[in-house]
């Protein structure tokens, strides 16, 4: 039995600025392997997944009509009913990804993990990570080229 007591959930929350969820984890995502809390656990095709992987898996399949009703319906019909459930987290993740594509936004990430997804590919590469001595975590944005101490761009 794995000990989750010292692990925090690494699901990303937020829209403009992404952050770690930071709740105590209770399982691992079966797809990307990140620790996830009970609120962010989803069952997709008998696989325990994080909302981001669930959203990615849903994208590969024909979508449920409930999730394709458009933003306007978020108000009561979908969001309130699903509030604070894993489905809401998945729905939010799907919406978030759609918005990033539509508005061409590459989010900032204040977090500490290295789990790859379409919207935070910078976490793959340590060069894009700026360590903050006070807060510990990271401030970076994808698409920016890291520079070394002399101000020259680092090679890929």
């Amino acid at each position: 039995m794995k000990d989750f007591s010292k692990l925090s959930c690494r699901t990303k929350k937020g829209l403009l600025f992404l952050r770690d969820c930071a709740e105590i984890a209770s399982a691992w995502c079966g797809r990307c392997g990140r620790p996830i809390c009970s609120r962010h656990q989803m069952m997709v095709e008998s696989l325990l997944a994080c909302p981001e992987c669930a959203a990615a898996l849903e994208k590969e399949e024909p979508q449920d009509s409930e999730y394709t009703t458009g933003w306007e319906d978020v108000r009561e019909e979908v969001y309130d009913r699903l509030a604070d459930t894993p489905q809401a987290a998945e729905y939010t993740t799907q919406e978030r990804n759609r918005l990033y594509v539509e508005f061409g936004y590459i989010p900032f990430f204040y977090g500490s993990h290295h789990y790859y997804s379409d919207s935070d590919f910078q976490t793959f590469d340590n060069r894009f990570i700026e360590h903050d001595p006070k807060d510990g975590p990271i401030l970076a944005q994808a698409g920016q080229t890291a520079k070394d101490d002399t101000g020259d761009e680092l090679e890929s």
Binding site: Y79, I106, E130
Partner: protein
């Protein structure tokens, strides 16, 4: 009304709500206000329905009463029948008055629907971007186009009409300031400009006919004031930005920037559903954030 909290009663009474609360408190307050609005709208609808139905029955019953009265002039009928007919007419007339007065009274208590269509979903979406424990400064004016908000009223050249009047209302119904993670600040201002055209014309029979048309122009202004130690406006990104021509950009002193866009709605723009979608508001926020880049180290 008895089931609602004090701030909501006050908000409905004054048509305004403002203060500094956490996002959860605001969502709970605005949710309650939304429920109140739905209740009121349903009650108003029921009042109009009651008055309409009572009017229909009274028109039938009135005819019946008149016939009974005519019949009683020539033949003897039991007086109780006549009294009952009169009483029923009176009850129906009372129902019409009650329904009409109730409808007019409730119409005066209407709050605009924009906050529930726009603000509540937008707050829910940016909830996780807010600094934990921070308060949102919110100022809402929910009265819609009322007399106090008239900006200008003038008579236009009538053309084919007998009279044409234009009234312009300027309604800044939302002012919001939120502290995002790491101390960045997001500010929104939404102004609804209502254009009311009241025309009078004369039909071929000589009767005067009145018609009112509304147009609504919604101006959304969003500003971001980044925490200078972490983020700054990137001039390169500004040049590369793909914001549409309808959106106006302004860079301000102190490292903040502002985007504003106008949306036009017509006809029947006074309808409740005519407003900017939360997606537009969030899109504006994303556009604003896309101008930012990490500050130079040591700044």
């Amino acid at each position: 009304m008895s089931g609602h909290s004090e701030p909501i009663r006050q908000a409905v009474k004054e048509g305004r709500i403002q203060g500094q609360h956490s996002v959860n408190t605001w969502l709970s307050l605005l949710g309650e206000l939304d429920r109140y609005k739905v209740e009121r709208d349903s009650l108003r609808h029921r009042c109009s329905k009651l008055a309409g139905r009572a009017l229909f029955v009274l028109s039938l019953m009135g005819t019946a009463t008149y016939l009974i009265w005519l019949f009683s002039q020539h033949r003897h009928i039991h007086p109780a029948i006549l009294v009952a007919a009169y009483a029923l007419d009176l009850v129906l007339a009372g129902m019409i008055i009650f329904g009409t007065v109730g409808y007019i009274w409730l119409r005066g208590k209407v709050v605009i629907n924009d906050f529930s269509l726009l603000l509540i979903p937008a707050l829910k979406m940016i909830k996780d971007d807010l600094k934990p424990g921070s308060l949102i400064k919110l100022k809402l004016d929910l009265r819609g186009p009322v007399k106090e908000k008239i900006l200008r009223e003038r008579k236009l050249p009538p053309g084919d009409y007998v009279k044409l009047t234009e009234t312009i209302y300027s309604d800044r119904w939302l002012e919001m300031e939120a502290v995002l993670v790491k101390g960045h600040r997001l500010i929104f201002r939404i102004t609804n400009k209502y254009l009311k055209y009241k025309s009078t014309r004369r039909n071929p029979r000589g009767k005067f006919k009145f018609k009112t048309k509304w147009k609504k122009i919604v101006t959304v202004t969003g500003s971001i004031r980044p925490n200078a130690q972490r983020l700054q406006i990137d001039p390169v990104k500004l040049q590369d930005s793909k914001i549409s021509g309808k959106t106006k950009f302004k860079s301000k002193k102190g490292g903040s920037c502002r985007l504003s866009r106008k949306y036009k709605f017509k006809p029947n723009a006074i309808a409740d559903s005519m407003t900017v979608t939360p997606k537009e508001l969030i899109g504006l926020s994303l556009n604003l954030c896309s101008f930012l880049s990490p500050s130079a180290p040591g700044k």
